[in-house]
């Protein structure tokens, strides 16, 4: 097919080089570096598993793990349900379809840093307009990011506001790929509404859903900007996510070995969860067919 035998490799080479330089090499350096500790003068000293042992003994690290897992357990299904609902809403042409599509994609155009700053101003308990609106409507002001009982939930909502539109696009393409004939035969057979959704739409969406789930999980495990900009891990550790803990270890405590150990742990956890999610959606037997 190709004139030269190395032609196909040449085509995929740029992507692979990028993957190597920006993913595999840093992962390797990080994993390797997690076995070292930096002394005052900047020299790296081999310390074996000391960084990991310290993490296991640290109650604040376990709190971070717990908060991160709870956060992901809630936000991943929630975000994907929102994205799927939005995709189904904008699938069929309707009067305001363009307005809706624009509205859902707009959050994508704003960077996560800017999103965090804007929402932290909007949700400020004292000076923010959201509480102003609530008070005007006769409701009580909410502490949002200032309360340890509301902070994580508020963070989930802000992250979903930003992310749902993005994932909606993938699910929308999945929905639009369902052949019209299947919809028509479902109609003839009398399957409508929820029955049609469960028995026909969802099974045909398995692969897009699997992709979105895994990609969204990875993205949410690595969530950093809103924590850094708005909550700093607080109040009282309520929003202390793993990525922020890694940042703190490197730049607040100047403990690079610890930071790399945390990054390696994040990588392992995300890999395990991703493998589990893929198995859930695409069982081994199906893949072989």
């Amino acid at each position: 097919m190709f004139r030269h035998p190395w032609a196909p490799y040449a085509f995929i080479a740029p992507a692979f080089i990028g993957l190597f330089v920006f993913r595999f090499i840093p992962i390797g350096l990080s994993g390797f570096g997690s076995f070292f500790s930096e002394n005052l003068r900047g020299d790296m000293v081999f310390v074996g598993l000391k960084n990991y042992a310290e993490l296991m003994d640290d109650p604040s690290f376990w709190n971070t793990m717990r908060v991160t897992l709870i956060f992901n357990l809630i936000i991943n299904p929630f975000q994907i349900c929102c994205a799927l609902a939005l995709a189904m809403l904008v699938r069929r042409p309707s009067k305001f379809i363009d307005v809706f599509r624009l509205g859902f994609i707009m959050p994508m155009t704003v960077s996560i840093a800017l999103t965090s700053i804007i929402w932290s101003i909007l949700l400020d308990p004292t000076l923010g307009p959201v509480n102003g609106l609530l008070r005007w409507g006769g409701f009580q002001s909410q502490p949002f990011f200032r309360s340890e009982h509301q902070a994580l939930e508020t963070l989930i909502l802000v992250a979903t506001w930003k992310g749902a539109g993005y994932w909606m696009i993938f699910l929308l393409s999945g929905l639009l790929a369902i052949p019209k004939e299947i919809d028509d035969s479902a109609l003839i057979d009398g399957a409508t509404g929820i029955r049609k959704f469960i028995s026909i739409t969802l099974p045909l969406m398995k692969r897009p859903l699997a992709f979105v789930l895994v990609a969204d999980t990875a993205a949410n495990f690595l969530l950093f900007a809103p924590v850094y900009i708005i909550t700093n891990g607080g109040p009282n550790g309520a929003t202390q996510l793993l990525m922020f803990e890694a940042y703190q270890a490197a730049f607040a405590y100047i403990n690079h070995g610890r930071s790399m150990a945390i990054s390696t742990i994040i990588l392992v956890v995300v890999l395990l969860i991703a493998m589990f999610e893929l198995r859930l959606f695409i069982p081994a037997e199906e893949e072989q067919s």
Binding site: L40, P125, T126, L127, R146, G234, P235, N236, I254, N255
Partner: protein
């Protein structure tokens, strides 16, 4: 015309000279990379312009960063361990931290100790040598809105340090003027989460913030004095509700006071000029920093220094910067631009007329009698960051003892690496 060999040599020589000219000129002109605090334009730019005027061959590549980010940003730059930046701002307690990690150049040969206040030189030293240049100290006073006091019928505090208000008196007065539902407040700290601002709450009750050797926080920062002091601070937000919670941006709190939304504010002497220029219609007075009735008056102090990167490629130009900035008239200029408490003795003499106001009488008294600097430790970066997060959590209502004990353990763990 044929190109003779002579012509060829002549023209190539001229050509290379023309190409090299910009580089020759640039070589005679050095550029110093300076990282400075993000103080307002009108306070920093005239100072830097004056230096460039006196030193035409030195250009300053000035970078200013906001308070919230500058320390961590500097960590990233300094950890690269090259000559960037050449000059950087040093919060005085960080001198030991930077010096112990090899980030600062020794300045003994350029600085004459006798010209400065002993506390300034002490804050600039580590291991017996001077590593940072003292550039002003600080003092906090209580600002109050005269109109709001009059409207509520409350007698304002006196400017006499002998009749200093207690924290208890302040809360009582604040309650009479605060209307949280309308976003009107009784009192705010300028820096709601910074140890610089809040350690005196515990120190006023007799607490010590860190062990004398600078390596142990447990049983110091989590002792009963700080638990009591910080719980009192917490109640200003959660119980008496005289303070606006969550205002951690140090640029916003003076705005709240200036806009008449807050009756009282504890802030630095340097805020005086900001208020006068930005809010000319504000009728405000100054009083001494409050204290606990059963304790002793303690005021925060601490200084902005600046240092030279130990690995700078422009040693001569950097030394010139230090010498010029510490000269009598540059220091007076700096004092006029941003009125910090002077550490250079000459400024007290040259500007004696300006030190007669209420503000400066209070500042001078407190600097000499009640000021307690932040703890000296090479691990100050870590100490400050951990305590800052703890203070945030306490402000939002968490149990002070639990938070402080956890913080102390974290500090001990992180400072241990400096024991060598």
């Amino acid at each position: 015309m044929t190109i003779s060999r002579r012509n060829l040599i002549k023209s190539s020589a001229l050509g290379s000279l023309a190409l090299a000219m910009p580089n020759i000129v640039r070589a005679q002109q050095t550029t110093l990379k300076v990282v400075w605090m993000g103080w307002p334009d009108n306070q920093v730019l005239p100072l830097m312009a004056e230096f460039e005027k006196r030193n035409p061959t030195i250009k300053l590549a000035l970078e200013r960063m906001p308070f919230q980010q500058i320390f961590q940003a500097l960590e990233i730059r300094l950890n690269a361990r090259n000559g960037d930046p050449d000059i950087f701002i040093v919060d005085s307690p960080l001198t030991a931290s930077y010096a112990s990690r090899g980030h600062l150049m020794e300045l003994d040969s350029i600085i004459d100790k006798k010209r400065f206040a002993p506390s300034g030189i002490a804050a600039a030293s580590f291991d017996g040598k001077i590593y940072s240049a003292p550039f002003g100290s600080s003092m906090q006073v209580l600002y109050y809105n005269k109109d709001m006091f009059k409207a509520a019928g409350v007698t304002p505090p006196s400017a006499d340090p002998a009749s200093r208000w207690t924290w208890e008196q302040l809360v009582e007065a604040g309650k009479k003027m605060a209307k949280p539902a309308e976003n009107i407040w009784g009192f705010t700290f300028e820096q709601q989460e910074r140890p610089y601002q809040l350690l005196p709450m515990g120190q006023s009750l007799g607490g010590t913030a860190l062990s004398p050797d600078g390596f142990k926080a447990s049983s110091y920062i989590d002792g009963p004095a700080f638990v009591e002091g910080f719980t009192f601070m917490q109640k200003m937000y959660t119980e008496s509700k005289i303070s606006p919670p969550g205002q951690f941006d140090t640029a916003l709190t003076p705005e709240l006071f200036g806009a008449g939304k807050c009756a009282m504010m504890v802030a630095g002497t340097f805020v005086f000029d900001t208020l006068k220029t930005k809010f000319p219609n504000l009728d405000f007075g100054v009083a001494p920093h409050p204290y606990f009735a059963k304790g002793k008056p303690v005021t925060p102090t601490g200084a902005w220094h600046f240092g030279v990167n130990a690995r700078t490629q422009q040693k001569a130009a950097a030394s010139q910067f230090v010498t010029d900035m510490l000269s009598d008239d540059m220091n007076v200029l700096w004092y006029k631009l941003r009125p910090y408490v002077p550490t250079l003795n000459a400024v007290w003499e040259k500007e004696a007329s300006s030190f007669t106001s209420d503000l400066w009488k209070i500042a001078k008294y407190d600097v000499q009698n009640t000021a307690v600097p932040r703890p000296a430790t090479p691990g100050f970066r870590e100490y400050e960051d951990i305590v800052r997060v703890a203070l945030r959590d306490i402000q939002s209502g968490a149990n002070a003892q639990q938070i402080l004990t956890a913080a102390a353990q974290k500090i001990d763990r992180e400072i241990a690496k400096y024991k060598g």
